[in-house]
Amino acid sequence: MDIFGIPIQAFLGQLLLGLVNGSFYAMLSLGLAVIFGLLGIVNFAHGALYMIGAYVAFIALDTFGIGYWYALVIAPVVVGTLGVVIERTLLRRLYRIDPIYGLLLTFGLALIAEGVFRDQFGVSGQSYPVPEALQGATNLGFMVLPNYRAFVVFASLVVCLGTWFVIERTRLGATLRAGTENPALVQAFGINVPMLVMFTYAGGAGLAALAGVLAAPVIQVTPLMGSNLIIVVFAVVVIGGMGSILGSILTGLALGIVEGLTKVFYPEASNIVVFVIMAIVLMIRPAGLFGKEK
């Protein structure tokens, strides 16, 4: 059976792969949106934190023999701590000045991280094995889908929806949101706003690291994996609307699927389709699909 002249196997197969990619876009743009929405900082280092998370998992396995399931917890904790350090020592100084400096600072941090890991590990990447419980593949008829990739989609959906729920539907989330709208007032209520901000950044960093661990068995763990992804994630966030968390999740997934479809019909364009959509969205709805003009 053919759709537009393409066999349905290829079509569904690419769609599914696109969904997997979309899960990563969703998780990363979620972290970025959380940090921007609540801190006003565009965290260019988000890709680097994702990469460091993957490397923590790799080093944990390679040097200490600690497996994947532990790494899912260890990596976010390690990178989250790193996030705390970054926020306290560096980002804190920049809140009062032009936000472009925050972008430039995190850009510099991303370069530092990439350089250090490139020096240590080279560029061609290390492979990380799929955890035993998730090995193997299922023959879906139209393609053979490695079980691990299905797990990734499932896990990232859980994480994304969980985060959205915490921020939009719980008291903690409400406090966070209030803290960024009017820090002085919230502080007057006795809530330690700087501490809140610090943990928010750490939380975003932890999310990125979690995405990194999930990604490790799928793609090569390389120092460049973050920078390859971060600009696409920026585009996703711009399309979805900078302050909107739900927007980032939905847009991330949708864009992964669109990219997958492009690979079927016009593979050369798959790299640029995200940006083309961004340009179009900006012409029609400058605030993004789900965004609110701040």
Partner: protein, 329 residues
């Protein structure tokens, strides 16, 4: 020396000294190819500074214009047989045209969004170059001949080409000085200082921003075109986002909103990369990143900016001392 008019004189002397060093460079042991490369990037940085330092717009994808012009010039000179001067002009025009396209989309948003959009659009353009057959993709567009300038001046010799590059650089530098001091430049500065007020004064702010953007893109393209002639190739590196980041650093490090700042920043960064590349390998990236961090946290005014501020403080001090002396102790 530590008076306000003294500062003026000092900067003028500084510029003259800089020019003399440039003119004498090949004879005092500086490698001409390195100098030419640095001058091309200095043109790039000056063009970028026009946008960031004087108009207050952070374009995070400026390498797109340098790369576009580099490829255009490279292809026209190599495959279409165009003479170098026409190739350069065409490259500039192509850069400016691309700037118009990007600007029209990006100007709709301000501040940080503007930066992210320019980054994303530049990345899109990068992928277009990656796929387009004429650029040679990963292999780059190679074998660009230097040709004869205006039909008679052969540019094959490094020395001859060097002085041509110096001439172009000086022209660009003076042109930017002229723009900044013109009424147009004053409006740009007003937009940087306080955009709502500029709007309330009746200026079509978007039109001015777009024009500055196109101008900056065209001049960035000029840097790219010249670089292609000097080195004989145009590659994906010329359009990569890391170059966009580097030009921001050059401008920041040298001094945003100053004339000499971007030039000094460009020479420093290019020199550093050249010097360190063999010795420390991947650590060059780390060092560049560290300089970024240090600059943003503690050195926002850059070399020239800090120098000016220091001299300013001395001048104020001297002035206030002489005033209090006159007031009769």
């Amino acid at each position: 020396m530590a008076t306000h008019s003294g500062i003026e004189r000092l900067s003028r002397i500084g510029l003259v000294v800089g020019l003399l060093i440039l003119l004498a460079a090949p004879f005092i042991g500086l490698y001409p190819v390195f100098m030419m490369k640095a001058l091309c990037y200095a043109i790039f940085a000056c063009a970028f500074n026009l946008l960031l330092g004087y108009t207050g717009l952070l374009s995070f994808g400026h390498a797109a214009f340098l790369g576009a012009a580099a490829y255009a010039t490279g292809w026209l000179v190599r495959s279409a047989g165009w003479p170098p001067e026409l190739g350069i002009l065409a490259g500039m025009a192509f850069g400016g045209l691309l700037g118009l396209g990007v600007g029209l989309i990006a100007i709709r948003r301000q501040g940080i969004y503007f930066a992210m959009i320019t980054l994303a659009l530049a990345q899109m353009i990068y992928f277009v170059w990656l796929e387009a057959p004429f650029t040679g993709g990963e292999d780059g567009l190679q074998g660009v001949p230097r040709g004869k300038l205006f039909g008679f001046l052969s540019l094959e010799s490094d020395l001859v080409l060097y002085y041509v590059v110096v001439a172009v650089f000086v022209a660009v530098f003076l042109f930017i000085v002229r723009i900044v001091h013109s009424p147009f430049g004053q409006v740009l500065k007003a937009i940087r200082e306080n955009e709502p007020r500029a709007i309330s004064l009746g200026y079509d702010v978007d039109r001015y921003k777009l024009l500055a953007f196109v101008l900056s893109a065209a001049l960035a393209g000029l840097g790219g075109s010249m670089k292609t002639l000097v080195l004989g190739f145009a590659t994906l590196n010329d359009a990569h986002w890391s170059l966009s980041g580097e030009v921001i650093l050059m401008t920041l490090l040298g001094g945003m909103g100053t004339f000499a700042g971007p030039v000094i920043g460009a020479f420093t960064i290019i020199g550093l990369q050249d010097f360190l590349a063999d010795r420390v390998g991947a650590w060059v990236t780390v060092i560049i990143g560290a300089i970024f961090v240090v600059c943003v946290v503690a050195f926002r005014r850059g070399f020239v900016g800090e120098l000016k501020a220091w001299l300013q403080r001395r001048a104020n001090y001297t002035a206030s001392r002489s005033v209090s002396k006159d007031a009769g102790q």
